[in-house]
């Protein structure tokens, strides 16, 4: 991997954008500005950032219920993402989806998803299209450890492998499926080892090291574009907050464990590296911080001031061809 200041600063900036976005979302939620409920990506920023840094706009991402970071990393604006959480007409799904149904096909985000694992076969399907139409696009599925004991993991990865599809399967193993410890969910504790069962490369990386993720994803994307088939990447990471905003996340996880992972914060670690290796000065990083804060403040302001969707549109676009929709369409 070629060391590159511009790249490093871009990775740092994106991780910080996700972190500040999530903090602002939590604050907005607590102020009652966000309906429903939201799952935050705090602690896992390096994964989406390191993977999506390799993607073109015409590549596609299928995300999970913890999807804000994937959306931002794939290029959905902070404004459109925040406005969707607020349920506003200016949101990326025009207020129809919310946190778990972020859609921005214009930039290749084909949905975050409320169903654990569902993105895995969907991503394989996009790969089928790209391969059959001889396009050099790639498809990515992000999912947690909670998805790997599901049919979708087995069937989706098996089909992608046997048919040689250009897909990158990214498991964000944050060690808990809601409250279920991975150690109690399955015997083999490394998800990447399962790749051997399906005959595709499996790579395990430190998911809190953005450069490690970036490097593994780079090879996986290269392989996929070159027609060499799918890769399974397991990124071991941790959500240092609760499962959703409002869940303290402590009842089922030892405090020492949470503290240990907080100390391994992917953003702070990368910041130390940038400073120690003189990739950037403290002033430059402070400048990035200011720009990111301004971006997120603007996104919240934008969302807060955006109009609600028109209730008259609630029955629209149920079908691709009936504008009115409804049971008697």
């Amino acid at each position: 991997m070629k060391a590159d200041k511009e790249l490093y600063l871009a990775l740092y900036r994106k991780m910080l954008e996700i972190r500040r976005f999530e903090e602002a979302a939590a604050e907005s939620f607590q102020q009652g500005l966000i309906p429903g409920f939201i799952h935050l990506y705090i602690g896992e920023e390096a994964v989406a950032t390191g993977v999506c840094a390799h993607l073109r706009q015409d590549d596609v991402v299928f995300s999970s219920h913890r999807g804000h970071g994937h959306a931002l990393a794939k290029g959905v604006s902070a404004r459109e993402t925040m406005a969707e959480l607020f349920g506003r007409k200016t949101g990326c799904s025009r207020g129809r989806g919310g946190s778990m149904h972020l859609f921005a096909p214009e930039v290749g985000l084909l949905g975050s998803n409320g169903i654990v694992g569902a993105g895995i076969p969907l991503a394989a399907g996009a790969g089928y299209t790209f391969k059959m139409l001889r396009q050099d696009r790639v498809s990515v599925a992000f999912f947690g450890d909670g998805a790997v004991n599901n049919w979708a993991f087995h069937e989706g990865i098996n089909l992608a492998s046997v048919w040689g599809l250009p897909v990158i399967f990214v498991c964000e193993n944050n060690l808990y499926a809601t409250q279920m410890p991975f150690a109690k969910a399955t015997k083999v504790q490394d998800v990447y080892k399962r790749a051997a069962c399906y005959g595709l490369p499996g790579v395990g990386v430190d998911g809190n090291d953005v450069l490690a993720v970036y490097e593994a994803a780079g090879e996986a994307v290269r392989r996929a574009r070159a027609g060499e088939g799918p890769t399974l990447i397991e990124c071991k990471t941790y959500r240092t907050v609760g499962h959703y905003v409002g869940d303290p996340g402590t009842g089922y996880r030892p405090r020492e464990e949470i503290e240990k992972w907080k100390a391994r914060c992917p953003i702070e670690r990368f910041r130390q590296k940038l400073l120690a290796e003189s990739w950037a000065s403290a002033e430059e990083l402070e400048q990035v911080e200011k720009q990111v804060r301004a971006l997120i403040d603007d996104a919240v302001e934008f969302a807060r001031n955006s109009p609600w969707p028109d209730p008259k549109e609630a029955l629209m676009n149920v079908y691709a061809d009936y504008v009115g929709g409804g049971a008697d369409a």
């Binding site: 596609v60 299928f62 799904s93 025009r94 129809r96 989806g97 149904h101 859609f103 096909p105 214009e106 084909l110 949905g111 998803n113 409320g114 169903i115 569902a118 895995i120 076969p121 969907l122 991503a123 394989a124 399907g125 996009a126 790969g127 089928y128 299209t129 790209f130 059959m132 139409l133 498809s139 049919w151 979708a152 087995h154 069937e155 989706g156 098996n158 089909l159 046997v162 048919w163 629209m316 676009n317 149920v318 079908y319 691709a320 061809d321 929709g325 049971a327 008697d328 369409a329």
Partner: protein, 336 residues
Amino acid sequence: MSMPTTSEEGQMRELTFMEAAREGLAEEMRRDPTVIVLGEGIGPRGGNFQTTLGLFALYGEERLRDTPISEAGFTGLCIGAAMTGLRPIVDIMFADFGLDALGMLINQAAKICYLSDGRLKVPLVFRGCIGGGNSSAAHHSGNYYPFFMHIPGFKVVLPATPYDAKGLLKAAIRDDNPVVFLEHRSLLNVKGPVPEEEYLLPFGQARVALEGRDVTVVAISAMLHRALEAAERLAAEGASVEVIDPRTLMPLDIETILKSVQKTGRLLIVDEDYSPCGAGAEIAAQVAERALDYLDAPIRRVNMGFATMPFSPPLEKALLPNVETIAQALRDLLAA
């Protein structure tokens, strides 16, 4: 809409239902290189029900993809393919096998157009065989279409003749929505006239299969043929029965049914599937809401008995609607 005649449509041949459907599929695969079929045994074998017979030699493995027994997986894969530019047909063989894929169909395929505010489409055909009557037993005979009628986003198509099988399948393949296309086992070898020229049948247009004055029968899928036989018996007894084939249940052509009920004042719905929350319940409710004043008798339904499809012929026969149970329901309705 009535069946075309040879003089209107040029050359007609007699084809079986499956031959006609296959001809429609072949035409669409020739016309549009993004049409693909995935399923178990649909490659060189040509499909358990000969849905794809002969097509593998023409279009090869990428477009006629034999799958492992991973119904949820390859259905999910087809949804992702449909979102990104292909027009996949999931050939699920027996509709019962599709139940493993229901989560992907309902939570993903049906909802994506809406959630993306119309910016993503899922042009998917989910095709399978339904229906009892040949000791296929509990896991190879279910009907299931009310599940899909109930969910916003699906279209639900049930052809009952070779002519409709071809025209509706072609329309289903060109439709930009997930279309559930269900073929009753007892119809597959039924023969009927099919034009050589290309034609498509729009969804939401019921067919008046037999005109009559005294009572309306709405008969779904294979029940059409039993209802027509029952109508013949009633004709011999002096009653004039109108028989309507809805052809698609979503969208449902309620107008054609209402028009008929306004004429006859009596309605019987014949549906091989179960009655609770079924297609007939929906049709009856819509007629009651909009044409109660025209009814001279309560709406009646004939459905299969509310039990799992048994294997043994006498048990199975006891549950399924037949010509005589339909004829008797008509007599009762006319006497009401």
